[in-house]
Amino acid sequence: MSDKLIDRVVPRQQKEWDIKGALNFIFGGAGAGLLVASPFAAALLADPRPFLALGLVLVAAGLFSVWLKIGRPWRALHVVRRPSTSWMTREALIAPLLFGAGAAGVVTGAPLFVALAALLGVVYAYAQGRILKANIGIAAWRRPACVIVVVATGLVEGFAIVGLASLIWPSLTALGYLVAALIVARFIAWTNYVADLRRTGAPTGTLAAFDAFAPRFLWLGHAAAGALALLGALAAQPLALALGGALAAIGGALFKYTLVCRAAFTQGFALPKTPARGRSKPGPGLQPGWERPKAG
């Protein structure tokens, strides 16, 4: 037997959802976050329509990316056939509503449509989190904490991109407080998520991928980004908020790439007991490639 097949005893990094699959979550989450942030931009006297439009473009780019990835793209509309249990179907059904409300908001600028698009943005980001959670074959995704961190990341990205626009509309610098608060919320969600994985057990490769990513995510994606966003708001410095927003958004995108591609290891196989042979009794089992929860 080849080494490749022997390796399948231990969890292996999934390869089916590559960067194209990850882009659905990167663009989709950021786009949904932008839709959520649009009414806040409007409240600060900025025109929400460019943000709505960009949000829709990002969501569309994510869906287009995953369309390029699927094996039978010309049958893609079959995706809507199982709303009863499939979050992928639900995401596909939410998308036209989101595009409808968002397009109406872009054309009319009416607060009702802007608010409706924002609400659907939250639902869309949540559906993306649930797509991951439903995939119980990937230990890094099936925890409820994963949904929270995915939604939080999408929101941070959306507001962070609006923060970038403070270079054009300086009145948006006040949004820096909210950007900083959301970065703190994402930090809490992220640390809770990783702690949850360690507490409940996860493939060694999953934890190694997150450990490798954590320092940059912590210092650049959270500490520096949050401080700059806060500075931007406090000192009315659009450049600081834009820099903080860029770091937060890039950090979020890299986190989702790590989550979907690098830290996504399969369950692998376990042997609860070794078989009894001859007169022996069953021996202790094992689950290779896993870091089990610490006792106590």
Partner: protein
Amino acid sequence: MSATAQKRYVMAIDLRRCVGCQTCTAACKNANATPPGVQWRRVLDIETGDFPDVQRTFMPVGCMHCANPPCMHVCPTTATKLRADGLVTIDYDICIGCANCVMACPYDARSIQHVAKYAYGTPMKSEEARFDAERLGVATKCTFCKDRIDLAALTGQTPGVDPEVTPACVNSCISDAMHFGDINDPNSNVSKMLGRTEHFRMHEELGTDPSIYYIVDGEET
């Protein structure tokens, strides 16, 4: 409910007997013409213990035909279905190859082949004859040889007893480690065997209710 609807076909594999010969793997490839790199049935080779007290266990794995299949729940197209007799099936005409089911399966049982592959690059005549374009770009996995199971309904034979209606891997097993049958029939071979042996199911804690039982102790099978 018909008698068929009450059946639940399962596999019982005696790990004490499996010698890791991979005959089941070869039989599956022969029966189902899976391409290179795709194995619906494979045998894991697991080493345990510390020298000199070591043990080697061979564990055949594949689709567990779960009664609560996560692959079906996430499938957005309804291509993956759970039959009344417990078999989890894929409709190749509906599947879009999104790989959601691949991610949902904790048994690494599904694969998607995007381009045709042949053992030696260019197809041999046998590969040409058995090539199935329907299987490109869609999820595939072990079917429990469902064509044979369906044949049983026509012939009146019993899967797990009559070789013509029993999965190829089970038929091929040289050490009689693999058994197949209806666990809802208390008189079936698998029901009796599981009643007198100690066994486990893979990753039961995930709530999938898998249909492959691994025997590790108890009476000889």
